[in-house]
């Protein structure tokens, strides 16, 4: 594929989030983007066009030290309400899971399990979702972007932030990220952060203290 995967409009449009978020690793992260979302096509048809490129990203993420793959979904209905965002997330991840070339079909497994995380193409992936439903007090606020973004972060990309000779991210880095979000009025929900279930963090509740968004049931 001879195109600039880091220059796609999905990446360019996501930059407003990448450059304004309080996460200290975001600004320097290397993101590939999906090709333009075509509103006239179905969700499945759009994902069919994206899947080969997503797989290519996953193949190259380790050697090229790539951090994430962003899909931008055009149109208000994908993430203008928390219900829409939850449903969108389920539909996208369900479809990808069904098409998983590694045959893992993770969405068919017990999601509320500490060992579960989304997987595709044999890679474990953390999912971040950003929609216009979130206001500026939410850690998933998209800084005025109107479209919905789903960011696929291979879990191995987190290891790049871990210092050699250590098992996990330094506590100081974690604490700083949380403090920065708190300082800017977008605090993490400690209950969600402390949950053993990865899925709980994929779609954040609108407000602190709101119940977990059970997007997989949407």
């Amino acid at each position: 594929m001879l195109y600039d995967a880091e220059g796609y409009s999905s990446v360019l449009n996501f930059k407003v989030v990448q450059e304004n978020t309080e996460c200290i690793y975001a600004a320097k992260s290397r993101i590939w983007g999906a090709s333009d979302w075509r509103p006239e096509l179905s969700l499945a048809a759009n994902l069919d066009a994206i899947i080969p490129h997503l797989l290519r990203f996953l193949d190259l993420a380790r050697p090229l030290k790539l951090d994430g793959y962003v899909v931008e979904m055009l149109g208000p209905d994908y993430g203008d309400t928390i219900e829409h965002l939850a449903r969108t997330t389920r539909l996208v991840l369900d479809y990808l899971s069904e098409q998983d070339p590694a045959g893992e079909h993770c969405m068919a497994k017990e999601i509320e399990d500490p060992s579960w995380c989304f997987a595709f193409g044999g890679e474990k992936i953390f999912i971040n979702t950003f929609g216009s439903c979130y206001d500026s007090h939410n850690s998933r606020f998209s800084f005025g972007a109107l479209n919905t973004f789903i960011l696929f972060q291979p879990r191995h990309s987190f290891a790049q932030a871990i210092r050699p000779g250590e098992s996990t991210l330094p506590a100081a880095a974690r604490s700083r990220i949380r403090a920065d979000y708190r300082k800017h009025g977008r605090p993490y929900d400690a209950q969600i952060s402390a949950s053993p279930f990865d899925a709980y963090r994929y779609v954040r509740p609108l407000k602190h203290g709101d119940p977990t968004v059970r997007w997989w049931e949407a």
Partner: protein, 506 residues
């Protein structure tokens, strides 16, 4: 460290020589003596070796001074203490204690310091199995999906709902009392731990139990079985039957077992502390150092003979991680010792090895009646920041030795060495204390070698003793910035005490 601009007085020349470069002694470099000069670095008889060292976190290789010749052998190094990494891949990773001596039968406390990663749906922490019981596992502790931690004793089990905090260090405690059946689980508060660690406060306290229930009332756990961390046993000690699909994935920093159900206050008192090993009811306290890992064993505060933790080959392949503590190891004469205490990284320490060959009289009984005979003895002392520390003897075979090394300073990855002094006398406590921060001119009579990081005009590491034991070095250079940690210049600047240790009762 001093700048490179001051002149150096060279006793061999009897004159002041031009300023020389001062090197940062540390990192992957080292300095070695030419073989033809090796005999000049030998110390036969009494010996004192002093060095200022700064060990950083993630310390791995930490050799300070090594000398071996036909005439003498002395060595000073650090042994990093850290975590082991367990996985659900082949080759299997496990920690095993077989033929367990005095396994707690009717009351126990198990403490684990772990950092789990997402792996298996069924993740085994501990499996204890005895050959003659009717149970697959006499004691089994595992996390099972939404059920959280599950504890089984003699085939009776209880689901606690307590889940692990993934990708995060946590202290987990399980206590059980047979007479009441009461089982409690304690765990660090994850958010509080992160906040405290980021503020430099490495020790947080446990709050009340997250779970209290009843299990196996009036039952007892058999002795003499096989305890495994990280894998579920299908048959006692049968490595082929370990179920890798139920293994633990993550890191283990320490494991401790008591033969009584400790209360909250006591748990917090001992939390994060390196114990003496003879605390009442302490059965074992296992940690992992580079030296112990290299020989496939664990450190145990309680005993070097019983309940030896053995490591799978897979665990021996990679260095210990998450190093924030170390032991001091010393060799002199025919003795090898290690400090009983652990010391924290990220500060300067003055280390001293003092070796004395002593004579003493011994009463012997012979055919003609009792007589006295003169025996040669050896005494090896370790001092840290001028204070003697308790030591344990080690088997020399536990200390790998590179036969090609003759006399060397370094390698000291993740750290700094500053001012090494080697004496052919056993310095007294008073002499050591008076010269801790700087050396008096009239104290140099017995100096064998003295290094400060200065170089000679011909590019060697200068020996300031005047005996000409300059070393060829590689990988060391002058500091590029002034941001190196500054060595203490007085008692007031010395760091606090070692990792808090429970003193042995008098």
């Amino acid at each position: 460290m001093a700048d490179s601009t001051s002149s150096i007085e060279d006793r061999s020349l009897g004159a002041t020589v031009p300023p020389a470069t001062r090197l940062v002694m540390g990192g992957e470099g080292s300095a070695q003596l030419a073989p033809e000069l090796l005999n000049k670095s030998a110390v036969v008889g009494d010996l004192t070796l002093e060095a200022w060292v700064y060990a950083r976190d993630r310390l791995q290789q930490a050799e300070i001074v090594t000398h071996k010749s036909t005439q003498s052998h002395y060595r000073l190094k650090l042994d990093p203490v850290g975590s082991l990494a367990f996985s659900n891949l082949m080759p299997k990773t496990w920690l095993m204690i077989n033929y367990f001596k005095d396994f707690p039968a009717t009351e126990l406390t198990i403490e684990l310091l772990i950092c789990p990663f997402r792996g298996n749906h069924f993740s085994t922490l501990l499996s204890y199995s005895t050959p003659h019981s009717d149970y697959d596992n006499d004691l089994l502790i595992y996390e099972h999906g939404k059920r959280g931690l599950v504890v089984c004793i003699n085939d009776r089990s209880i689901e606690t709902g307590v889940t692990l905090d993934y990708s995060q260090w946590q202290h987990i405690v399980i206590t059980w009392t047979s007479s009441t059946g009461v089982l409690k689980i304690y765990k660090d508060d994850g958010e509080e731990t992160i906040a405290a660690a980021s503020e430099g406060n490495r020790r947080t306290l446990l709050a009340g139990p997250l779970f209290t229930g009843r299990l196996a009332q009036n039952e007892s756990i058999a002795d003499g079985g096989c305890l495994v961390f990280g894998q579920k046993q299908e048959r006692p000690a049968d490595l082929a039957a370990l179920d890798i699909g139920k293994s633990f994935v993550g890191s283990l920093l320490s494991m401790r077992i008591w033969s009584r159900a400790c209360g909250l206050d006591e748990l917090n008192q001992h939390k994060g502390v390196w114990l003496c090993g003879d605390e009442e009811g302490l059965v074992a306290d296992w940690r992992f150092s580079e030296m112990s890992r290299a020989v496939g064993e664990c450190l145990n505060a309680c005993s070097v003979e019983h309940n030896v933790g053995q490591l799978s080959g897979a665990l021996m392949l990679r260095p210990v991680r998450d190093v924030k503590q170390y032991r001091v190891v010393a060799v002199a004469g025919r003795q090898t010792v290690a400090s009983r205490e652990l010391f924290q990284t990220q500060n300067w320490k003055h280390l001293t090895l003092v070796y004395r060959e002593t004579e003493h009289q011994r009463l012997a009984h012979g055919p003609d009646g009792p007589t006295t005979e003169l025996r040669q003895g050896q005494r090896l002392q370790l001092l840290v920041n001028g204070s003697e520390v308790e030591t344990v003897s080690l088997e020399p075979s536990h200390l790998p030795f590179d036969e090609t090394i003759l006399f060397r300073l370094g390698r000291f990855d993740s750290g700094l060495i500053d001012e090494v002094r080697i004496w052919n006398e056993a310095r007294t406590a008073g002499q050591l204390k008076e010269n801790l921060f700087s050396l008096s001119e009239n104290e140099r009579a017995h100096l064998v070698a003295h290094y400060l990081g200065h170089t000679t005009d011909d590019g060697k590491l200068r020996d300031h003793s005047g005996r000409g034991l300059n070393l060829s070095y590689t990988g060391w250079a002058a500091p590029k910035t002034s941001r190196q940690p500054q060595r203490p210049a007085s008692d007031a600047e010395l760091s606090g005490p070692a990792l808090q240790i429970k003193s042995k009762p008098e």
